[in-house]
């Protein structure tokens, strides 16, 4: 299940998030916004007016508090958003396993948001606005956000491109190694990232370890984002054991 079917030239990038390590500091969200040209929120901003491809959700329980970083789960089977998009603006790249969004095609019907079982897609409800001077911090390897389209985490695809270009320039073929912004920023090293097809990676090993699970595993979307926890109640809230859908990502 972890490493499967593909020929060796294809990567299947995946993530393991250790919920027990996450302190809920939000550094990953900031790093994500900076990397992906998400402008700082205006003073009047509410939850809807800025997009964050990543959110850390606080989950309260009698057993304690858990922080769950939520981003696109990169569903591999029956990818709901790719299946519902009427104009193929969402595609699962067979070379990387990354679910990619093509904003130029998107017409903003938001069916993919309604269909996403993880609430992991975000709409650009307005134009991004940059305080004077701050637009100089724009990341040149990522397109700026645009109004009226749906977007989501793409495992920092810009970084993958850079790594790939470098590898090709050095005459290398096959999957490349790179690190998404959130993984880099996490001070408690809660997120591990890598190629699930490569049995030598720590992400592959961690995903198979006891205590690792996927959200809503029972619905058959086969996400490539794994979570892990030693706490029973956290695992029970993942939407698998109890059969209830929403526990893990709605606090």
């Amino acid at each position: 299940m972890i490493a499967h079917k593909d020929n060796s030239n294809n990567a299947r990038y995946g993530m393991v998030v250790d919920i027990d390590r996450c302190t809920g500091c939000g550094a990953c969200m900031i790093a994500c916004a900076v990397e992906n040209n998400v402008p700082p929120a205006a003073p009047t901003a509410n939850e809807r007016t800025g997009i964050t491809p990543m959110r850390v959700i606080r989950y309260e329980h009698a057993g304690g508090t858990a922080f769950v970083p939520m981003m696109c789960q990169q569903c591999e089977d029956e990818t709901p958003c790719a299946a519902v998009c009427p104009q193929n603006a969402v595609e699962l790249d067979p070379a990387t396993g990354i679910v990619g969004q093509i904003p130029q095609r998107c017409l903003g019907c938001r069916y993919c948001m309604a269909a996403c079982p993880y609430h992991a897609r975000y709409f650009n409800w307005g134009d991004p606005t940059w305080p004077d001077g701050l637009e100089k911090t724009l990341n040149p390897s990522v397109a700026p956000r645009m109004r009226g389209v749906v977007e989501k985490c793409n495992f920092c695809h810009g970084r993958w491109h850079e790594a790939k270009e470098l590898a090709v320039a050095n005459g290398k073929t096959g999957p490349v190694e790179y690190t998404p912004a959130c993984v880099e920023a996490c001070p408690s090293r809660a997120i591990t990232f890598g190629d699930l097809n490569n049995s030598a990676t720590s992400v592959n090993e961690l995903a198979r370890e006891k205590g690792s699970f996927r959200l809503l595993d029972s619905i058959g979307t086969a996400p490539k984002v794994y979570y892990r926890s030693r706490r029973d109640w956290v695992r029970a809230a993942s939407g698998n054991a109890s059969g209830t859908a929403e526990g893990a990502h709605r606090g």
Binding site: Q87, C109, A114, H119, N124, V150
Partner: protein
């Protein structure tokens, strides 16, 4: 209150609603979806989908229901109501398309699904069907315009291809009336079990047929008041009996499905869902029971009120599927912004206004006059010539 002042009140009301809608339009297209709606990433579909699209398409179902009744099943006695039904359907679909432009993030890309195919997508199917069916409705509506302007040759040509067009319209309606329900099949884990069922497409289709009949009764009543024209009452009575049967079929399917899924336990869950479910069922069951009584079917008012009650039940159902059932799992509360409500009401008012104008200027309530055969044109032309030359 005299009839005239009553009439003026509704006109004023309609104009006011449309004016507010213009202000909301400025906010929507001058600003953004963020500024003009209370939608959020957790709750991406609001009343523009729940009412304008889901209800709008359903309320326009009279077009295909009656076209099929008269032109395919050859129940010719219903012919006098086909034209108003086609007009309503054409208007309904036009307004649905317009409403969609408000809801889409980038409305100028609305043609994308027609070119960038994803046949896996239900939305792709809905997009194609609505586009094609709106075209079909335009063609079904065209004879009224041609008749008005006496374009006999074009009328005759159109009449020759009308039956395939009507059949195409019925197929397309069957496809997308049901696939509006199919849209929701992808979200079983998000929807309340009172509404989520694999049967949604079939339930949507059956209730759309009932709605088509109820809308025909509704229009007939209002046309009678506004234009002093009325359907023959026996026809309305027949329609109301079929309506009762269709609601019965729908509710029977609904209840059997609920039992099979053991979803009745959802009624023990506290919250507004069970009450809104109750409202929806009562608004459908009561008119059904009433219309099964012969006593009710003797009174035009009673039939009208039953039709209105069912239509309200239908609207409640679509809003429940599109909004209520998804609210709890989203974790946010969605209350539409004034601009969302304004555009919805403005479009409804526009629908009534355009219907009134069309009914005044086009032969909507008149029996169809068969177009003259080509031989008659020549005869007519030579008559005119002889009259002219005679003078």
């Amino acid at each position: 209150m005299s009839g005239r002042s009553h009439f003026n009140f509704w006109r004023l009301m309609g104009a006011a609603l449309m004016l507010v809608a213009v202000a909301a339009t400025v906010l929507r297209f001058g600003g953004s979806l963020g500024a003009s709606t209370n939608l959020s990433d957790q709750f991406p579909w609001g009343i523009w989908i729940g009412f304008d699209v889901l209800c709008g398409v359903g309320l326009a179902a009279g077009g295909f229901t009656l076209a099929a009744t008269v032109h395919i099943f050859h129940l010719k006695r219903f012919e006098p109501i086909v034209r108003p039904a086609i007009l309503t359907a054409f208007l309904g679909y036009g307004l649905v398309c317009l409403a969609l432009l408000f809801d889409l993030g980038r409305p100028w890309n609305v043609w994308h699904p027609l070119v960038m195919w994803n046949p896996h997508s239900v939305m792709f199917e809905v997009g194609w069907c609505v586009t094609l069916y709106t075209t079909v409705l335009a063609l079904e509506f065209l004879p009224l315009v041609l008749e008005r302007f006496r374009l006999e040759r074009a009328r005759l040509m159109l009449r020759r291809i009308m039956i395939p067009i009507v059949i195409l319209g019925v197929i397309l309606s069957t496809l997308h009336q049901s696939s509006l329900g199919t849209l929701f099949l992808i979200m079983p884990q998000k929807m309340n079990a009172l509404w989520y069922t694999p049967m949604l497409p079939i339930l949507f289709y059956v209730s759309a047929i009932a709605t088509g009949l109820a809308m025909t009764i509704f229009e007939s009543w209002h046309s009678a008041r506004a234009f002093a024209r009325q359907l023959e009452f026996p026809l309305v009575q027949k329609l109301s009996r079929v309506l009762a049967v269709m609601i019965a079929v729908y509710l029977a399917m609904r209840f059997m499905d609920m039992s099979a899924r053991r979803a009745w336990t959802m009624m023990d869950q506290p919250g507004t869902e069970r009450w809104l479910f109750g409202v929806e069922i009562v608004l459908m069951a009561v008119p059904m029971l009433l219309l099964f009584r012969e006593q009710t079917r003797k009174s035009p008012q009673a039939i009208y009120l039953c039709a209105v009650m069912y239509l309200l039940g239908f609207v409640t159902n679509r809003l429940n599927v599109g909004i209520t059932s998804l609210e709890r799992s989203s974790g946010v509360q969605y209350i539409p912004k004034w601009s969302e409500v304004a555009i919805t009401l403005g479009l409804v008012a526009a629908g009534f206004a355009i219907f009134r104008v069309a009914a005044h200027h086009l032969p909507v309530f008149e029996e169809e006059v068969p177009p003259l055969p080509p031989a008659a044109w020549e005869a007519e032309a030579s008559d005119a010539y002889s009259i002219q030359s005679g003078q």
